[in-house]
């Protein structure tokens, strides 16, 4: 039933790669939080999250993904409900309504939405697989399915997660393909509509989101406010030079010039300490991860598995590229974590879970059809 070759085979390499990335993350968190007076310093907490993550990984790898996919639509419905609830009676944190308090536990519905949309899009497209690519009409329903939760999430507001969900959808659409006629027409149309769309988009952005975009263009515009993060991040990364300043040598992060250094800007910490050489190594590890996922998508035995793999790859890549891009100053500050490295339980559990799901698809390559 399960591809025993996988476990005996080179998937050990995957474990090594993941452990390495996790280790780099912990090391970087350690370097900026080791001095903390807390009873359990953050890097220790991160290790706890990692352990939990591995458990989720195993769980997600164990249960047959087809079983999981059966609940795609119900989960989707639940997600919509929770998203609505959050908007109505959610707990605010830092000006965003993202949390639902259910007595003893806090849920972030947007996290659930990510997985839910992954499942539901994959399920839908595998059930109604369009040959020769999608045309406009075929895109409507799945597009709507994605758009509704996206808008609800945008209203929270949580730009990062909304975009992440769209990246899942886009990856799948990219891989399924669009009919050439549709592609051409829609490209032309969106080009023409662009100014209007832009106005609409701009008009609905909150002030701070607009600020983020303007300071992205020119961080020196607001060096003590929103531009501060970008400027300090670039200084941290740039000053790392070719080989970095070594562990604890990152003066920017050590001396607290770099804010959010253990979360969103963990990459800057890493780069300041290990330099360009370190970045190359990290990129290689990440790329290997992506390759592994691509191979799974390629060799999956059915569309569902393939699309799940594609969606997961898209999601993880989105987070990685956007976070790194943000710290390097080529993207506006959108608060997204760096998968497997940023401090944080939610991100860790989700990412490990998704990796588990990937392994899931891989393991059932040779299952026979019923």
């Amino acid at each position: 039933m399960i591809d025993r070759r996988s476990i005996a085979g080179y998937d050990w390499l995957l474990f090594v790669v993941v452990i390495l990335i996790l280790g780099m993350g912990v090391l970087s968190i350690y370097s900026v939080t080791a001095a903390s007076q807390a009873r359990t310093p953050l890097y220790v907490k991160q290790i706890y999250w990692i352990i939990l993550g591995w458990i989720v990984f195993l769980v997600m790898a164990w249960v047959d993904y087809h079983e999981i996919a059966r609940f795609a639509y119900p989960i989707y419905a639940l997600t919509l409900l929770l998203l609505l609830l959050v908007l109505v009676m959610g707990r605010s944190a830092q000006g965003a309504q993202r949390w639902l308090s259910l007595g003893f536990i806090n849920i972030q519905p947007s996290e659930l939405a990510k997985i839910s949309l992954l499942l539901v899009s994959a399920k839908y497209f595998s059930d109604y697989f369009p040959k020769q690519g999608l045309n406009f009409r075929q895109l409507l329903l799945p597009g709507g399915m994605v758009l509704v939760p996206m808008l609800l999430i945008l209203k929270q507001p949580d730009l990062g997660t909304a975009l992440a969900i769209s990246s899942v959808f886009f990856s799948m659409v990219l891989v399924i393909g669009l009919r050439s006629k549709f592609l051409i027409y829609s490209s032309l149309l969106s080009l023409m509509m662009f100014p209007f769309l832009w106005q609409f988009f701009w008009g609905h952005l909150k002030d701070y989101q607009r600020e983020r975009l303007t300071t992205f263009i020119d961080p020196t515009n607001d060096p003590t406010g929103t531009g501060y993060h970008i400027i300090q991040s670039k200084i941290a990364i740039g000053s790392g030079g070719l080989f970095g300043k070594g562990l604890f040598g990152g003066t920017q992060s050590q001396l607290k010039f770099l804010p959010e250094s253990h979360t969103d800007f963990i990459f800057s910490v890493f780069s300041e300490e290990w330099g360009f050489a370190g970045i190359v190594v990290l990129f290689l590890l990440f790329f290997f991860l992506i390759l592994w996922g691509i191979e799974i998508a390629y060799k999956a035995k059915d569309v569902l598995g393939s699309l799940l793999a594609v969606g997961i790859i898209g999601l993880i890549s989105f987070y990685f590229l956007v976070n790194v891009g943000m710290t390097l100053g080529v993207m506006p500050v959108v608060g997204v974590p760096l998968p497997l490295m940023s401090y944080g339980g939610t991100s860790m559990v989700t990412t490990m879970g998704l990796l588990g799901l990937l392994l899931n698809v891989k393991l059932r390559r040779f299952m026979l059809f019923y």
């Binding site: 200084i235 990364i237 070719l242 003066t251 990129f283 594609v310 080529v330």
Partner: protein, 626 residues
């Protein structure tokens, strides 16, 4: 619904495009890598510098200022420790309670404390100076309450101290914080905001020598401004010490001699222009100004009617009165308008034009020659002779003796006095010169004004037979690092075109002013030293014949006396001006005598007169406290 695709066909459909996804991701990765290279490889150094700038704070430590000594090594100005009170708001958690507590301890008004502390808010870890110069009691109080006063620091720093207070205040000057205008002028390249520089007098003129070089501490700070550790310390370099031409002993005598009267005394060495003493009353205490005077104190000084901040030696412009006759005498002999034997009949007045120019002596002096005219200060003689010379010749010889232009002494704000001429009158007053005015000028009244320094220069030039030496303030500089002493060369004196014979005659006459029983300064004759000089009485208001003691003091004439001694080989030239002092002979001449006797080291009159000693260096006062 599912079309007729076999699952395997569907997946194959996807497979080709899966590589597109991979390609896209790879492209993005390469792009980011390139960007990272741009930041780290291409601009690595630039960002490294920025990160350094972020974290390093450079703090300057003030250098001790060089000391000022007199010509014999007596200490005049030094630095004394001052305990200054600083507040670091960033280290003070509960400012609302700590600051008033602190204010109470040092006897400061609570509002005043808040005012000083909220002035600079940008960097919470920048120490704010709250009070200068704490008394030992205050230091003890604050240290004792240390636990209640977080964020409060006492720093031991230096303050400038003029040891003798008001003595030579205008010459020595004072120090102060560099002003905004000075910072912007570009003349003070190495001084930062808050730096202390000389603002007046010698402290200012020789500031670059005695200032020293600030030290530097490079401190690593974190993003909140906390000092983490000191990276590097460069010790400050002391300024070089300087030795002035001033003689403390003579200065003391001169200050006490002038006492409460307003006026000026300046003594010079005719051989090289050394300024031996410089007194201007009323004076001020430089220590009050060097150590941060309140604006009220400044205002009081500025509004004081006596104008204590004015250095009368170089800024006071007065009519020279009869002292001007010296210049006329020289001019007469040189131009041969008169000979030593030429006589004028003085009856107490000279009719000229449509008025009578009065002599101070009612009945006149009788028949006088140049010698007698100087000894007894006959006005009529000089009315007559001045008229023969004409204003322009008088002007020419005045300039030769250094009058009518600044002497170039290395102090600020020197005034040049005024020597009138026909050209001057035409240009400035837009009128022709009237011959009657020459007569007034001839006895040193009218338009002509001089400063006491110019007078000293003039008499010194007479004393050394015609060499005009620029005034010299600085004699030696001692390098603080090596301890080696370097002499400051005196500037070249200029020979003026007046013959030695003329000087001999003039000098003899001036000696007579003191030694001759009819001389106007005969009451100041010294048993110890032969002095030569000339009295002068400058009118404050133009009442005919002058006013002596009948009107309120402020209308009294100013009293002049210029002198040199010993006559045989002059070693000192002195000019004394006593504002509203009345007669030169009675008010000013005795002061000049005291100064001269002090410089030449002769025993004061209370002791049995002895033969004149060869000039010994004046005894140095107590050991230097530096």
């Amino acid at each position: 619904m599912r079309e007729s695709y076999l699952p395997q066909e569907e997946t194959r459909d996807l497979q080709s495009r899966i590589y597109w996804l991979l390609g896209l991701i790879l492209l993005a990765l390469m792009g980011l890598l390139l960007r990272a290279w741009y930041l780290q490889g291409v601009n690595g150094k630039f960002y490294l510098e920025l990160s350094e700038n972020n974290r390093i704070r450079v703090v300057e430590t003030a250098p001790p200022r060089g000391l000022i000594y007199d010509r014999n090594g007596a200490l005049l100005v030094n630095n004394v420790p001052s305990f200054n009170l600083y507040v670091v708001l960033g280290d003070m958690p509960n400012q609302a309670t700590v600051l008033p507590h602190l204010a109470n301890l040092i006897g400061m008004n609570e509002e005043e404390m808040m005012r000083r502390v909220t002035f600079k808010k940008e960097d919470p870890f920048f120490p704010i100076k709250v009070k200068d110069d704490l008394t030992m009691r205050e230091v003890a109080l604050i240290e004792g309450h240390g636990l209640d006063l977080p964020g409060v620091k006492i720093e031991a720093e230096f303050k400038r101290n003029a040891i003798y207070g008001t003595y030579a205040a205008h010459l020595l000057g004072y120090v102060g914080e560099i002003t905004q205008a000075q910072l912007e002028s570009g003349n003070y390249q190495n001084i930062k905001r808050g730096g202390i520089i000389g603002q007046y007098g010698i402290e200012q003129t020789f500031d670059s020598i005695i200032r020293g070089t600030p030290g530097q501490k490079r401190i690593e700070v974190d993003a909140l401004g906390h000092e983490i550790r000191v990276l590097e310390v460069n010790e400050p370099l002391r300024g070089d010490d300087i030795f002035l031409a001033l003689d403390l002993n003579v200065q003391k005598v001169a200050e006490e001699a002038l006492g409460n009267q307003n006026g000026a005394i300046v003594a010079m060495d005719p051989k090289n222009g050394d300024i031996i003493a410089m007194v201007s009353h009323p004076a001020f205490n430089p220590n009050l100004l060097s150590q941060g005077a309140s604006s009220r104190a400044w205002e009081a000084l500025l509004k004081d009617e006596g104008r204590p901040l004015t250095n009368r030696v170089i800024q006071g412009q007065y009519p020279p009165g009869s002292t001007f006759k010296i210049v006329l005498g020289a001019a007469l002999l040189e131009t041969k308008e008169a000979t030593p034997a030429s006589r004028v009949e003085c009856r107490g007045f000279l009719p000229f034009g449509n008025r009578n120019f009065k002599d101070w002596k009612k009945g006149g002096h009788g028949s006088v020659d140049l010698h007698r005219a100087l000894v007894e200060s006959c006005d009529v003689y000089f009315y007559e002779m001045g008229n023969r010379l004409g204003i322009d010749t008088i002007s020419k010889y005045s300039h030769l003796f250094g009058l009518g232009q600044p002497t170039g002494i290395e102090l600020g704000s020197e005034k040049g006095g005024l020597i009138p001429s026909t050209e001057w009158k035409r240009q400035v007053r837009k009128e022709p010169w009237y011959p009657g005015e020459t007569l007034s000028v001839s006895i040193g009244q009218g338009y002509v004004t001089v400063t006491p320094l110019q007078q000293a220069l003039m008499i010194s030039t007479v004393a050394n037979q015609g060499v005009l030496h620029p005034p010299q303030l600085l004699k030696k500089i001692r390098d603080q690092e090596t301890g080696s002493v370097q002499e400051v060369p005196a500037a070249e004196g200029k020979h003026i075109p007046v013959s030695p014979e003329t000087f001999r005659i003039i000098q003899s006459a001036l000696a007579g002013v003191v030694s001759d029983p009819h001389g106007t300064a005969s009451s100041s004759k010294s048993p110890f030293v032969s002095m030569g000089g000339k009295t002068g009485t400058a009118q404050v208001i133009g009442l005919k014949g002058g006013v002596h003691g009948k009107l309120p003091d402020k209308y009294n004439d100013h009293a002049w006396f210029v002198a040199f001694a010993p006559v045989e080989s002059p070693k000192i030239g002195v000019a004394v001006l006593v504002e509203n002092g009345g007669h030169g002979g009675s008010a000013a001449a005795p002061l000049a005598r005291k100064v001269i006797e002090a410089y030449l080291g002769v025993v004061p009159p209370s002791v049995e007169p002895m033969t004149v000693k060869s000039p010994a260096p004046p005894p140095a006062p107590g050991r230097s406290e530096g």
